[in-house]
Symmetry: C2
């Protein structure tokens, strides 16, 4: 069964890291469900869904969900449903975010709004959210319904917060961490916590599972924000510095803005003036952020959060699984090492 | 309390029908919750939400939800949450539909996408869906979670179906009723059914509550479709025939297309050719639909569904409430009488 699925899905292309091997079987089932089992009669929607899920992606959220499940007992059918709905919510929110951010590229490929249009993006996102809700119903667990309802609310809050803080050079660290928590870490935390709940763990372990996901999610977001500055356009699959260009102030920019250096003032002025819509000014801003050590400092911050997430892992008693989870945490940072 | 709320909300402007008086108190609380209690820190979102919910609206879905609750026992706090989440889902889906249909006007007022933009519409719709999910969690009832997950899925299916059938003159009655069920009746049915579930009714009554909402919802949709042809632009708050102009084939057009008359063939050609983008051709199509008796026949169909919904009402034992529910059913048809 697994071999047939792997062949059909051309799984090798996905390139899951080695430490995923203990959850390989479940990841293959998840992949098949996402690619081939979402029920729609519409040929247009089928095409869009196939475009989205065949793009690959590391399925990091499902993976840490499965690892938490394995580390707190075993991976049940409900955990597969849980990881699936987590990936569906993640994907739906990206599709709607791409409308909001007018994004043209994601993971080196054209976005749905770019290749089709905003309308198709709205429908597709809503469809994936609805499919996630159906899976939430199947779990028959009101606590998990509440957890994921909060995630949906957090995702909106994060997006609204980001939208309302564009080009705002007075954003605080609290704003930034809060936005990273709601936009990213909330879903990481929810899937880890829910995985532990489904295995009927004690309250302390459930809290730790939540914390693990939360800290890992924040680290992940900071890494993403660093990559936006350090990656080449080819690696990123989108223009470097594209967040800043839109006015989104992330960790590297924030460190640069808050440094005690005259160049910080210069950076403030350039951002406040929205780069005067000139490429020169934008390039100067990126250069100043690099000069002021924004990316190095952000990297240290990401490592701090990564360490915090590792420290929660004492609730995982199985040594092998724990070591895989530590590797998963390191993997998040590897992208910037 | 009620008086203060009524004054603050300027409830008289809403103009609820008389037979709503037995649920007036609950409707006032609902109205206050929708207008003033949705939690957001964003001033922009506050403005958008206030714009939406201060537009009035009859709150028909909450009303039939409350009536069903009263008719099957009593209206509990959970019924208020239920009716609120129902209105939230309804509103969110309208906002997203307006993006998909590029609608400029709704209820005589500019749409969110027209007054703000598509991005704000996406965020606002997602926010309202998320708020609905939070309320769904509060009900702590996994059966109702499943019912509403199916509604979300139905709403998408309906929208996709509508989108894929634009200008398709071969659409069948089954297609039309199916689309009306998923796009409209599903939510009516869900709130009636769930109201009965919360009052712990027997299975037969729960099924009848579902059927009541379902038939009423289909009647409501047909009436809406008739009004699109018979209302003046001033009454509708949007251009008359605007559904047809977009290529949406509704009951009046369908009756006309399926009539045994040479003019039906003429109508087919005009629609198939998408009116050659000419106002003349569009006007001709509307005229043919009237000539071929499309609206009268559609009215009879709406009455049939209205009668079907009344026939389910034997599960309501309280005579007074039953008579209010019969009036509510007639009220849906009154708009075209």
């Amino acid at each position: 069964m697994r071999q047939i699925l792997e062949q059909n899905l051309n799984i090798k292309k996905i390139g899951w890291p080695d430490f995923f091997r203990c959850i390989n079987e479940e990841l293959v089932i998840l992949e098949d469900n996402l690619r081939n089992k979402l029920p729609t009669k519409s040929s247009l929607l089928k095409e869009v869904i196939s475009y989205i899920f065949n793009a690959g992606g590391k399925r990091l959220r499902p993976a840490i969900c499965f690892l938490t499940a394995k580390g707190t007992g075993r991976i049940t059918d409900k955990h597969i449903i849980l990881s699936e709905l987590t990936e569906l919510i993640h994907t739906a929110s990206l599709i709607h975010d791409d409308i909001i951010d007018s994004a043209k590229l994601r993971r080196k490929r054209e976005t749905i709004n770019s290749l089709w249009n905003d309308k198709i993006s709205v429908i597709t996102g809503d469809f994936l959210f609805a499919q996630a809700s159906i899976r939430l119903g199947k779990l028959e667990n009101t606590e998990i319904v509440k957890i994921y309802a909060k995630v949906l609310s957090d995702l909106c809050d994060g997006e609204i917060e980001q939208y309302s803080l564009l080009f705002n050079i007075n954003i605080s660290w609290e704003d930034y961490i809060n936005k990273s928590t709601t936009k990213t870490a909330s879903l990481f935390a929810a899937c880890c916590k829910s995985a532990a709940i489904l295995n009927e763990m004690d309250t302390a372990s459930i809290t730790m599972a939540h914390e693990y996901g939360n800290f890992l999610g924040i680290a992940f977001q900071i890494v993403d924000d660093i990559l936006d500055f350090t990656g080449s356009s080819a690696e990123l699959g989108k223009e470097a510095g594209s967040d800043l260009k839109q006015g989104i102030i992330t960790a590297p920019a924030l460190f640069a803005l808050k440094s005690n250096d005259n160049r910080a003032r210069q950076l403030k002025t350039i951002i406040e003036n929205k780069f005067d819509e000139s490429t020169e000014d934008f390039k100067k801003a990126v250069q100043l952020i690099h000069e002021l050590g924004g990316c190095e400092k952000a990297k240290r911050l990401a490592m701090e959060y990564s360490e915090k997430s590792k420290e929660t892992l004492y609730f995982i008693r199985d040594h092998e699984i724990k070591s895989f989870m530590l590797q998963a945490t390191d993997f998040v940072l590897e992208r910037i090492s």
